[in-house]
């Protein structure tokens, strides 16, 4: 589907990229194309190779094999300071001995931009991230959210062809994380830049990315839009990693992934093509929804969710209660591997 992009639209093209650390293969023969203007997410657990891949894009790691093209130019052996790429670091890496304006203007100064123009461009980008009143502050005098925006402004001010973000929201608290998510998508669209983001947080990747790559053990397990990856996982790994999935063995062999919200939960046997009886062994009330663990003879313990549309009671079913589960034929996704 949208796993490849055509010719000149691709801002990033990666061919067979491999990086080893001693006996460990951190990135294993990865092929990938990213289109201009995308917000692309590399998603995976720790040690899956997503950060190494990002660092190879930035130039901090040299691939052992494979080629890397940015905007059609071979960047495989180009050092970081000569790449049209900027990165926002997980720790933000703000220079503690410089104020906000000097931090943001650092990259422009390296390019020999005139002082007056630096001042203008710094002021402009600081206004964009709502920090115009903090230009003379030192990083130590800023809150976590403000530091994050300085780091973003510093990486954006040179208008890179590619902006790399290493866990951009990980250091923020939950409330701030949600508003910052929208803010970053707004900036990306407003500036028309290409973002490549590394994250371990699937919710973050799903809500922000135009496309994402799920990585596992140095390889890309699946590439697609958030919708494709969620509704049409290609493998048991992806189905299990993204959201919650009930993996059910099929009669003719093979597997099927069934999302908890695609299953109907009722006291009586429902009029659906697939039904199974079971007993509730655990209930988790999460406010907007409730999650039930249902012990079934046919498929073991299954997870089912219900939306809490009524305020009256808590969870609609109680632990120990006998229930029926039902789903339609199209509810599940057949898995290739």
């Amino acid at each position: 589907m949208s796993s490849t992009v055509t010719g000149d639209k691709a801002i990033v093209r990666i061919e067979g990229l491999t990086r080893r650390f001693g006996p460990i293969v951190a990135v294993d023969r990865v092929d990938l194309e990213i289109a201009r203007g995308e917000l692309f997410a590399l998603l995976g657990g720790s040690g899956c190779g997503k950060t190494t891949l990002l660092r190879m894009l930035a130039g901090f790691e040299t691939p052992d094999e494979g080629r890397l093209f940015i905007d059609g130019q071979d960047m495989t052996d180009v050092p970081p300071y000569r790449r049209p790429v900027n990165m926002m670091f997980q720790s933000y890496a703000l220079f503690p001995h410089m104020d906000v304006a000097a931090n943001v203007g650092y990259g422009l100064r390296r390019d020999g931009v005139k002082a007056a123009e630096i001042a203008d461009r710094v002021a402009e980008i600081l206004a964009l991230v709502h920090l115009q009143d903090h230009a003379r502050r030192k990083p130590s005098q800023l809150s976590g959210g403000q530091r994050q925006r300085v780091a973003l402004a510093r990486a954006l001010v040179k208008r890179p062809k590619l902006l790399l973000l290493d866990e951009p929201l990980a250091a923020l608290d939950r409330k701030l994380r949600e508003s910052t998510r929208f803010e970053m998508v707004r900036l990306q669209e407003q500036l028309g830049l290409t973002f490549v983001m590394v994250t371990h947080d699937q919710e973050e990747a799903m809500s922000m990315a135009t496309r994402l790559a799920v990585m596992n053990a140095g390889r890309i397990a699946q590439i697609g839009t958030p919708h494709e990856v969620y509704e049409h996982p290609a493998s048991r790994f992806v189905a299990d990693f993204i959201g919650i999935a009930n993996i059910i063995g099929l009669d003719g062999g093979g597997w099927m992934a069934l999302r908890p919200e695609k299953i109907a939960l009722s006291a009586e046997r429902p009029a659906l093509p697939r039904t199974v009886a079971g007993r509730i062994v655990d209930v988790a009330y999460e406010g907007d929804r409730s999650l039930y663990h249902v012990e079934t003879d046919a498929h073991g313990t299954m997870t089912v969710s219900t939306t809490n549309i009524s305020r009256s009671a808590g969870a609609a079913f109680a632990r120990g209660q006998s229930v029926w589960l039902g789903w339609s034929d199209e509810a599940g996704q057949r898995l290739e591997a």
């Binding site: 970081p80 300071y81 220079f95 510093r154 040179k158």
Partner: protein, 264 residues
């Protein structure tokens, strides 16, 4: 004040008295009128005047000061390079050995260093006709054993330095040298400065190594003091000690101030 707090403060006072009472006495007695260093007979500045009229002592002090400035600067530069290499160079065979070799002069007996340095200088004099033993040879010897102290301080500072800062600079277009100049060096400057001050103090009061490599003509301040003490103590020594303590205290305060300013 509780009994425990009183006990703690008592211990503290005792400890500080043990450390600093002798120094305080030296300072007080530098203003003594009497010729005898142990008998107080009244306030006077006459020993201060005497010291500042003592040509030989002043000359020795001037030589020591110049040696300390040169050797501390040399040690700071070389120690910075060594510390940077120790902290930043990728793993290579013999890296541990290299690290140990850099710090070995800290634990090596000064007598051994003195003899080896002397043999080196004698040999080079025979082969190349120089350098003459004196200012230069002493400065070189002091630089050699001070490098280790600077290297250790710099390496420790770099060890807890966020590498992402250097990567960020390079990512923004700074070459490795510009990165070092604009990010690494400003951030480790306090460590280099305290290393410099340490090397300066070490050079200023070194006696053993200096005696091996100093020629017949040069006499540093510690050598001068040592020989004059053997002829009998004179309250000028107290004045001199007071001056040295003052310089050392200023250096310490400066180094502390540098470190604090960095953190802020």
């Amino acid at each position: 004040m509780s009994g425990r707090a009183r006990f703690a403060f008592g211990m503290l006072a005792f400890g500080y008295a043990f450390l600093y009472l002798p120094i305080a006495l030296v300072i007080v007695y530098s203003f003594n009128e009497s010729r005898l260093v142990t008998v107080w007979s009244g306030f006077s500045l006459k020993w201060w005047h005497a010291l500042f009229a003592n040509e030989a002592m002043l000359e020795a002090a001037w030589l020591s000061l110049r040696i300390a400035l040169v050797s501390a600067t040399g040690a700071a530069l070389l120690g910075l390079a060594a510390g940077y290499a120790l902290a930043r160079a990728p793993r290579f065979p013999g890296r541990t050995l290299f690290g140990s070799l850099v710090v070995a002069p800290m634990v090596m007996p000064e007598v051994v260093m003195g003899i080896s340095m002397l043999l080196l200088f004698v040999g080079s004099e025979r082969l190349f006709g120089g350098p003459d033993r004196g200012f230069l040879t002493i400065a070189v010897a002091h630089t050699t054993f001070s490098i280790a102290f600077v290297a250790i301080v710099v390496q420790a500072r770099l060890a807890d330095f966020d590498r992402a800062l250097e990567e960020a600079a390079m990512d923004l277009g700074a070459t490795p040298w510009v990165t070092f100049r604009t990010v690494t060096l400003p951030l480790i400057a306090p460590a280099v400065a305290s290393g410099w001050l340490l090397a300066f103090t070490l050079s200023l009061d070194d006696l053993i190594l200096t005696q091996f490599v100093a020629g017949a003509q040069s006499q540093t301040l510690p050598m001068r003091v040592y020989s004059s003490v053997r002829l009998g103590v004179d309250p000028q020594i107290n004045v001199l000690a007071t001056l040295v303590v003052t310089v050392a205290a200023c250096a310490l305060i400066l180094s502390g101030w540098l470190t604090r300013r960095q953190r802020g």
